[in-house]
C-alpha cells in the first residue's frame, strides 16, 4: 500500500508547476556557473576565489562541487522548503485530506508516502544538479584530474569524490526536508511552512556571523554547517569525524522532525 501511495504522491508532484520550477533551477544553475567561468576565468593572481572555483576551472569535476557550495546558501533550502513545506499543507488547502483519509490507506501510510516523495524530489534535484554540472563542466574543461587541497587526483577518483560529496551533502538536505514536512504538517498552510523552512535554514546560517553563536561548540549542533562537511573529503589524510558528525546531526534533526510530524498527523482532527 505504501508503494501505491508513494507512486501517487510522485504523480501529484509531477502534475504541479512548482516541482518543475525547482528542477529547472538546478538545470540552469550549472549553465550560469560555466558561462561565468567562461566569461571571466579565474587567474592565479585572484586570491579571493575559493579553492573549488579554481578546481572547476581546471576540471569539469570541480563544477558540481562549486554548485554544492553555492546551493547550500539558498538553493537547496529553497527546494526543500518548496516541496516539503507544501506536501501535507496542500492537502489542507485543497481540503483533500478528508478524501484520502477515508480510503483504505492508513494515516501512517499516507505520511510515509509523502515523506518518501519529498525525499525523492530533493535527491532527484541533487542528482540532476551534479549530473548537469559535471556534464557542462566536462564540456568546458574536460573531465581530467582534479586538484584537491593536498594533491591532484585522477579522473576516476575525482568522479568517486563527487559522488561521495553528494551523498554526504544529502544528509543535511534530507534533514532539512524532514523539517519542511514537519512544518507543513503542523502549520497546515503551505506559505507558512515554506517560509518557515527557509527561515530555519537561513536562521541557522546567520548564526555563523553572530558573536557568541559562531563558536564551533554551537555550530557543531546546527544543521546548516553540516552542508559543508563533504569538503573534508578533499583533504588527505581523510578525517572521518566531520563526516560522521554530519551524519549524526542530520539524523537527529531528521528523526526528531519526522517523529513529531508523524505523531501530529496520526492524531490530528481533520476538520477542514
Amino acid at each position: 500500500m505504501i508503494a501505491r501511495a508513494y507512486r501517487w504522491e510522485l504523480r501529484k508532484l509531477a502534475a504541479q508547476k512548482r516541482a518543475y520550477v525547482g528542477l529547472g533551477a538546478v538545470l540552469v544553475a550549472p549553465l550560469v556557473l560555466v558561462a561565468a567561468l567562461q566569461v571571466q576565468p579565474p587567474s592565479p593572481a585572484d586570491t579571493g576565489l575559493t579553492f573549488f572555483v579554481r578546481s572547476a576551472d581546471a576540471s569539469g569535476f570541480g563544477v558540481p562541487l562549486v554548485l554544492l557550495l553555492f546551493a547550500s546558501l539558498w538553493l537547496f533550502p529553497l527546494l526543500a522548503a518548496l516541496v516539503a513545506g507544501d506536501i501535507v499543507a496542500c492537502e489542507d488547502h485543497n481540503r483533500t485530506l478528508k478524501t484520502i483519509l477515508t480510503r483504505s490507506a492508513g494515516r501512517g501510510t499516507i505520511f510515509t508516502a509523502k515523506v518518501a516523495a519529498a525525499f525523492t524530489y530533493v535527491v532527484t534535484a541533487l542528482v540532476m544538479l551534479t549530473a548537469t554540472g559535471t556534464l557542462v563542466g566536462g564540456l568546458r574543461s574536460g573531465l581530467g584530474p582534479l586538484p584537491t587541497f593536498t594533491t591532484v587526483v585522477s579522473a576516476r577518483e575525482a568522479a568517486l569524490l563527487v559522488v561521495a560529496s553528494v551523498v554526504v551533502y544529502a544528509f543535511p538536505v534530507l534533514a532539512l526536508t524532514a523539517i519542511g514536512v514537519l512544518l507543513s504538517t503542523v502549520a497546515r498552510n503551505s506559505a507558512a511552512a515554506v517560509v518557515g523552512t527557509l527561515m530555519v535554514a537561513l536562521g541557522m546560517q546567520l548564526t555563523q556571523i553572530i558573536p557568541g553563536l559562531d563558536r564551533p561548540g554551537v555550530q557543531g549542533w546546527l544543521l546548516t554547517p553540516q552542508l559543508y562537511a563533504w569538503i573534508t573529503l578533499f583533504r588527505r589524510p581523510l578525517d572521518r569525524a566531520p563526516l560522521e558528525h554530519a551524519a549524526w546531526i542530520s539524523l537527529l534533526y531528521g528523526v526528531v522532525a519526522l517523529v513529531i510530524g508523524w505523531v501530529h498527523f496520526i492524531r490530528r482532527d481533520v476538520a477542514g
Binding site: K12, A15, K98, R267, A271
Partner: protein, 306 residues
C-alpha cells in the same frame, strides 16, 4: 444477528466549552435510508466526521458494522464510503486520475470499475478534464463516484444536494433512490425537510448537538393525526368557541386559519357549536402536518426561532 451499519452511543464532541455533538445516540439499520436532519450548525457534519474517523470524539462510542472508526479507521471503513461537506479533489488532476488515485489508496480496483462508476454519475464524457474546471454539481457527482468505487454497503452523505441546481437536485435524489434500491444503506445528512421526507424511511432530528427525535418517518408523521384546519366568517369569535368546546385542544391561529387538535366526535361537536353561535364555517378539514411543521414543533415549539 449482524451488527448494524451505524451505532452511536452517547457520542460527544466538545470544542472548549461548546458541545458540537452532545450525547448523541442513534442506530442505522441495514437497508435504511436514514435522514440526519437538522439546521446548519446542529452537529450533523461533526457527527459524520467522527463516523468517518476524521476526528476523535470527546467521549462516547461509534460503531460501523460493529467496528470502531476511532481506534481502527481502515478496518472500520471497510464497506463504508461517503463524504463530508462538499467532496474535495485534486484540482490539477483529471476526474479520472482522481478516481485512479483513490482506487490505488483502496488497494486497487478491477478493470472497468472506474468507467462503471463514471457512467452511474453520468460523468464519463468529462472524466478527462481537470477537476478545477468542474462545476459544483459535477464535483458532487464525482464524490458519489469516488464513494461507489469502494462498492460500499454503507454510504454516508453530507448534504449531497447543497448548491445544486434543480435538475442536479432531482438527479442526485434519483441516484440515492437507485443506490438504496440496490441494497446500500444510506445515512443522509440534510437540512432540507423535503429531501428527507422524499428519500428516507427513518430519521433523527438533531438540534444544538442533541437528538430531539429518532424513529421512523411514518411514526413522526402520525403525530399529526387528529389535527384540523378551520376557516370561518369570524375567526376571533371562533377562537373563543374552540376554547370553550370540550375535546378541542392545541388551538392556534396562523395565516391559514385556526388550527386545533381533536378526535373526530369533538370536531363534529365544534361545528355544531359554531353554527349555534352564528359563525359561518368556510372550511373544516383534517390536516396532515408535513415534516417541516413537525420539525419546527420539535426544534422550536415556542415558535420563537432557535
Amino acid at each position: 444477528m449482524s451488527a448494524p451499519p451505524v451505532e452511536l452511543t452517547d457520542l460527544r464532541k466538545c470544542y472548549g466549552d461548546l458541545a458540537a455533538v452532545d450525547n448523541v445516540s442513534l442506530t442505522v439499520r441495514s437497508g435504511d435510508v436514514y435522514g440526519y436532519l437538522g439546521p446548519n450548525g446542529a452537529g450533523k457534519t461533526t457527527s459524520l466526521r467522527i463516523m468517518l474517523g476524521l476526528i476523535s470524539p470527546t467521549s462516547g462510542e461509534v460503531r460501523l458494522f460493529g467496528r470502531d472508526p476511532v481506534l481502527d479507521p481502515v478496518a472500520a471503513l471497510e464497506g463504508v464510503a461517503g463524504f463530508v461537506e462538499e467532496p474535495a479533489f485534486y484540482p490539477y488532476l483529471t476526474g479520472r486520475s482522481n478516481l485512479e488515485l483513490l482506487a490505488a489508496l483502496d488497494g486497487g480496483t478491477e478493470n472497468g470499475r472506474i468507467d462503471e462508476v463514471l457512467d452511474v454519475v453520468k460523468l464519463r464524457a468529462r472524466a478527462g478534464d481537470h477537476v478545477r474546471g468542474y462545476s459544483h454539481g459535477m464535483r458532487q457527482r464525482l464524490g458519489i463516484a469516488a464513494a461507489l468505487l469502494r462498492r460500499p454497503r454503507l454510504l454516508l452523505l453530507d448534504e449531497p444536494t447543497t448548491g445544486l441546481d434543480p435538475p442536479g437536485i432531482r438527479d442526485m435524489r434519483a441516484l440515492v433512490r437507485t443506490l438504496a434500491a440496490e441494497g446500500i444503506t444510506v445515512l443522509l445528512s440534510s437540512h432540507l425537510m423535503v429531501e428527507v421526507e422524499q428519500l428516507c424511511n427513518r430519521l433523527a432530528i438533531i438540534q444544538r448537538g442533541q437528538i430531539r427525535y429518532e424513529g421512523t418517518l411514518a411514526e413522526l408523521l402520525a403525530r399529526s393525526h387528529g389535527a384540523y384546519r378551520l376557516e370561518t366568517t369570524d375567526d376571533a369569535r371562533a377562537l373563543t368557541v374552540c376554547g370553550a368546546t370540550s375535546g378541542i385542544r392545541d388551538v392556534r391561529i396562523d395565516s391559514g386559519g385556526i388550527r386545533f387538535a381533536a378526535e373526530p366526535p369533538a370536531a363534529a361537536a365544534l361545528s355544531g357549536e359554531l353554527a349555534r353561535a352564528g359563525i359561518g364555517i368556510l372550511a373544516l378539514v383534517p390536516g396532515r402536518a408535513d415534516l417541516e411543521e413537525l420539525f419546527f414543533e420539535i426544534v422550536d415549539p415556542s415558535g420563537a426561532g432557535s
